[in-house]
């Protein structure tokens, strides 16, 4: 109960801070919007092997990938905000109070995930005029999945940030690992059109499972086995990474 109360308390504070500095939203959606308007129109021919017969199909294949990559990148860079707060001494101040240690981290993570969902919603809404169609139950389920994916990416970022504790090194590291993970998740182009060895390699990438699930949902098949498989993979990993990061956080923020 205390954990929930404290998490809610810190979540509210984090949301307030975001509300007061709305510039983040502009930067957060500038890139996906660019992709949506300038990159997607190129894709029709490329996506024919995936069954894309029309521009509408292209959006149905491409938008889910875009949403996953957005959650992935926004989450991956969440560690910076965490380290900034450590540097500002916010944490020291909070740690002398009896507030729950895990809540300090979870309140932040909840904020990071909430901001991702706002970005996702904007991109989804902008895609409807281009012919994106997705049944409502599938869309809702996809958002649940995106929440878990975002939470996992955020927790991974926190884990790395709390381990290396250096904002400069964190930037280079995330850029280095972010690119291959995103490509191997098939977010820009579906892995179905990739060489076999890349498809095999992608099986090791949880984000690839996530992309496949979200894409299947947007394609309209709630019952496709890849949906529950992907959901299981990201849920298990999200739980593990979140627990790990709260552990790291309570132990090592001294």
């Amino acid at each position: 109960m205390k954990l929930l109360r404290d998490t809610w308390l810190l979540f509210q504070r984090q949301i307030l801070l975001m509300w007061r500095t709305p510039m983040w939203l502009f930067f957060a959606i500038a890139q996906p919007v660019t992709y949506l308007f300038l990159f997607t129109p190129f894709l029709q021919k490329a996506l024919v092997p995936m069954g894309a017969a029309s521009m509408k199909d292209v959006y149905n294949i491409y938008v889910p990938g875009l949403l996953v990559v957005m959650c992935f990148y926004t989450g991956l860079f969440a560690g910076f905000g965490l380290l900034a707060e450590v540097r500002m001494g916010i944490l020291e101040r909070a740690r002398v109070t009896p507030v729950s240690r895990s809540a300090l981290l979870l309140g932040r993570a909840a904020r990071d995930v909430a901001s991702m969902l706002v970005q996702c919603a904007l991109i989804t809404v902008m895609s409807f005029p281009f012919g994106l169609t997705v049944p409502l139950p599938n869309l809702l389920f996809a958002y649940v999945l995106l929440t878990v994916i975002g939470l996992m990416a955020t927790a991974i970022s926190y884990d790395i940030a709390l381990t290396i504790k250096n904002e400069g090194a964190l930037g280079s590291l995330l850029n280095t690992i972010g690119q291959p993970i995103a490509l191997l998740a098939g977010v820009l182009l579906p892995l179905a059109i990739a060489p076999v060895w890349i498809q095999k390699l992608a099986l090791l990438n949880p984000f690839s499972w996530a992309t496949n699930s979200v894409r299947a949902l947007f394609w309209g098949s709630l019952s496709d086995p890849v949906v529950w498989q992907g959901t299981a993979v990201v849920t298990v990993l999200a739980v593990i990474t979140v627990i790990l990061s709260t552990r790291l956080y309570s132990r090592n923020v001294s």
Partner: protein, 318 residues
């Protein structure tokens, strides 16, 4: 209220040529009475912050014991946290929130209900004279206002003991005076205040008792007056208006000079048993030796003299 025994902490840091160990706090024993303003005086790097962070449960000691408000630090850190407030050297507030919002959050983090936290925040703003700026963003605050807010945040839950790390470092004289008043007010309300400082005048005029720390060890402890009395005799400062070498040679072996230091380029600082009789002797010696002197003054020893005799260095220089 605070009892510390043999507290130790060393840091290991990796360098290119292997690891080095810094004994940041090297066996500190202290006791602080209830309702006291206790000052921890020492140069940068002496181990003040490290000690304070250990007492505030932020850092685990390597060894040693401490009891704060009757609660054992190692056995029950959460219990200690209920009785203490801690204000870090660098504060710790977000930029885009107001003082009132920070105070409410702080109260809520201490477990208060919303209405009560709001009530306390309003009281704190009034008590620390932040009413006027209470609803402005923290990033617009002056150094003094920000520091007052830091302290207000540290006491919103009415702790018995308040730890203040360098409360006035970098403040202008007026803000410092204001801050001293706030600290005295807290003592008047019954709080025990443990602060660190590297300012001599702050230790001297604000603190009831002080401990001087250097290289992680306490080198002296007592009221400022007791410490100054430990330095036998007085200090005579001789202004020469020029090089000091010749005067130094003349005076350094005289039986009434206990210790001799240069002060700046053109003055000498003599520690003597009795200033009143030393002054005529010094003047005669220098005149006979053909050295002109421009000023001569008798000082009561300062805390810096205490520091100097205990460590061989001046706090002003380190």
């Amino acid at each position: 209220m605070i009892e510390i025994k043999e507290l130790r902490k060393s840091y290991r840091s990796k360098r290119r040529n292997g690891t080095t160990t810094v004994d940041a706090v090297n066996g500190v024993d202290l006791s602080v009475a209830e309702g006291e303003i206790f000052g921890f005086l020492g140069p940068n790097g002496a181990g003040k912050t490290t000690t304070l962070r250990m007492l505030a449960t932020l850092l685990a000691p390597d060894s040693g014991q401490a009891r704060i408000a009757g609660v054992d630090l190692l056995a029950d850190p959460a219990g200690v946290r209920r009785h203490i407030g801690y204000v870090a050297q660098g504060g710790g507030t977000w930029d885009e929130v107001t003082a009132r919002e920070e105070l409410v959050l702080q109260g809520r983090m201490h477990g208060l209900a919303k209405a009560e936290a709001q009530q306390r925040a309003a009281e704190a703003l009034a008590a620390f004279q932040l009413d006027e700026y209470g609803d402005r963003w923290c990033k617009t605050y002056s150094g003094g206002q920000r520091r007052r807010l830091d302290i207000a945040l540290g006491v919103v839950h009415r702790p018995k003991v308040l730890f203040l790390d360098e409360p006035t470092a970098g403040l202008d004289p007026q803000s410092r005076a204001h801050m001293w008043e706030e600290v005295r007010r807290l003592r008047a309300e019954g709080m025990t205040v443990f602060l660190t400082t590297h300012y001599l005048d702050e230790a001297d005029s604000l603190c009831d008792r002080i401990a001087i720390i250097d290289h992680g060890r306490i080198v002296a402890e007592g009221t400022p007056d007791q410490l100054k009395q430990q330095i036998s005799g007085n200090v005579v400062v001789v202004g020469l208006g020029g090089p000091t070498a010749q005067a130094e040679t003349l005076l350094k072996d005289k039986p009434y000079v206990l210790k001799l230091e240069t002060e700046g380029e053109d003055a000498l600082r003599l520690y003597v048993d009795a200033g009143e009789t030393a002054i005529p002797q010094v003047m005669r010696e220098l005149t006979d030796g053909g050295v002109a002197l421009s000023t001569i003054a008798l000082h009561r020893p300062s805390l810096d003299d205490v520091f100097l005799t205990k460590t061989g260095r001046s706090l002003r220089e380190s």
